[in-house]
Amino acid sequence: MSEKKIQHICLISPKRTIWSRTDQIKKTLEERSKLLKAWHSPSLSILTIIGLTPSNIKVTYIDEDLEEIDFHVKYDIVGISAMTQQVNRGYEIANSFRLKGIYVVMGGIHASVLPDEALEYVDTVIVGEAENLWPQFIEDFKNNIEKRIYKKLEGTFVDLTKSPVPGYDFLRNKNYFKDPKFFYNMIPVQVSRGCPHNCEFCLVTKCYGSKFRKKTIDQVKVEINKIKECCPGKIIMFADDNLFIDRKYAKELLTILKELRIRWVAQSDISIGEHDDLLKLAYESGGLFLLIGFESINPENLKTINKNSWKYRQLANYSANIERIQKNGIIVFGSFMFGLDNDDNNVFNDVVEFMNNNNITGQLTISTPLPGSVLIERLKLENRLIEKEPFWDKCTFFDALYRPKKMTVDELEKGFIWAYKEIFNEKSFTKRAQYLKSMYKKIQ
């Protein structure tokens, strides 16, 4: 059989629900969005796929949050990358293209944890990291021997030092940046994968393994220079789950970032607060804020959130470390979840008080049982899910999907709205800003 020609591939990121699907919560979040504008960034998964696609194949990238899909174009392949809350829309898109005889392949975290479900809607599923699998799929497709599932060998992970530069070049073709409603104000870079903590609610360890794998510093430098060339002035968003796990590597990286003259944001755990030298370097290298997953300030919650109680052991140092981070000019953007098993009606006030006392802003979310997580399996055994699966479009992190142990669902939703209003109002914003301004004035 002769080789099939691939001329045109369309890669799609399906429309997301930016806020909640619960009316009252959605209304509150939208009202307060002036004080916490949403950050928009292109899909790093799709940019990575673009980087892996042979340059003689034309690629179209559609971010459905920003533009409509034209279902009349005759692509050779449509690729869809979806997180759980996008996946139902992803399946609709797949269905529309398949009715026209177009081959559809899906990747992303949802299809990776539920490949059999995805295969009911698409022709092929890429399970897990795409670096080795996408080029293989392309070759097989050309030779008419494409498989239903592409997955890595059990226990093996991609060598990131061999990862290509994501297709940042592609962003030159898009003119999203001046749209007042939607635009990319941050461009993602991923320097590492893997996390040792294996938290109950999270899929990172399951999907990327517990071993910390990283790109070389030179690779990162090339990627950032490419972004500076293609999207000048954009903030770099490190998509790593924890940029500072390897302190020596982090120091080398920050030293290079200082030369590159960028502003950046990243995720970290709170123990970074114990390293004044790294924090100083983080500010000098353009660090703006660190998103830190505190998750809870209830010791009983933290004891059980991961097996080795790592987060619980940090609790006593939360405030001192926050103060040290912010004194070094890096804003702490805390992440908290409501609805954990030891949360009762006091949790909302406790978290608001903690955030106000420590002068931090952040994101408040509702604990979400993602498919593939240990949490969803436990909740099923305990018969606590409010709806039967699939409830994927409600996995927004702002919707109650299971019955908490120590309060009702109604109390959880009302408490969440109350806490959100307490944190995101002009009075709280002013207090935090005054504190941070005084910090900046000392170091500028």
Binding site: K37, K178, E426
Partner: protein, 85 residues
Amino acid sequence: MTKNKMANNKDIIDILSKITRIDSSGITYDTLIFEELGIDSLMAIEILARVEKQFDILIEESLMIDISTVGDFVQTIEEKINMGN
């Protein structure tokens, strides 16, 4: 003349350039603060701290919320400075 009376547009744009790490030649009055310079409410705090310190004035923290262009920002700061705060 007091310290704050000596400010000019260039000083303010230089501050924006220093904080955003975007060359001042790429910043014009029409440049969009949030969309093009990436200045959100968090980076705005750092900018206001520097403006306050350099020009010896005080600025309400909520000022950035309704500002959309560099021109709006420069004008607002100049008004503050000329009013002697």
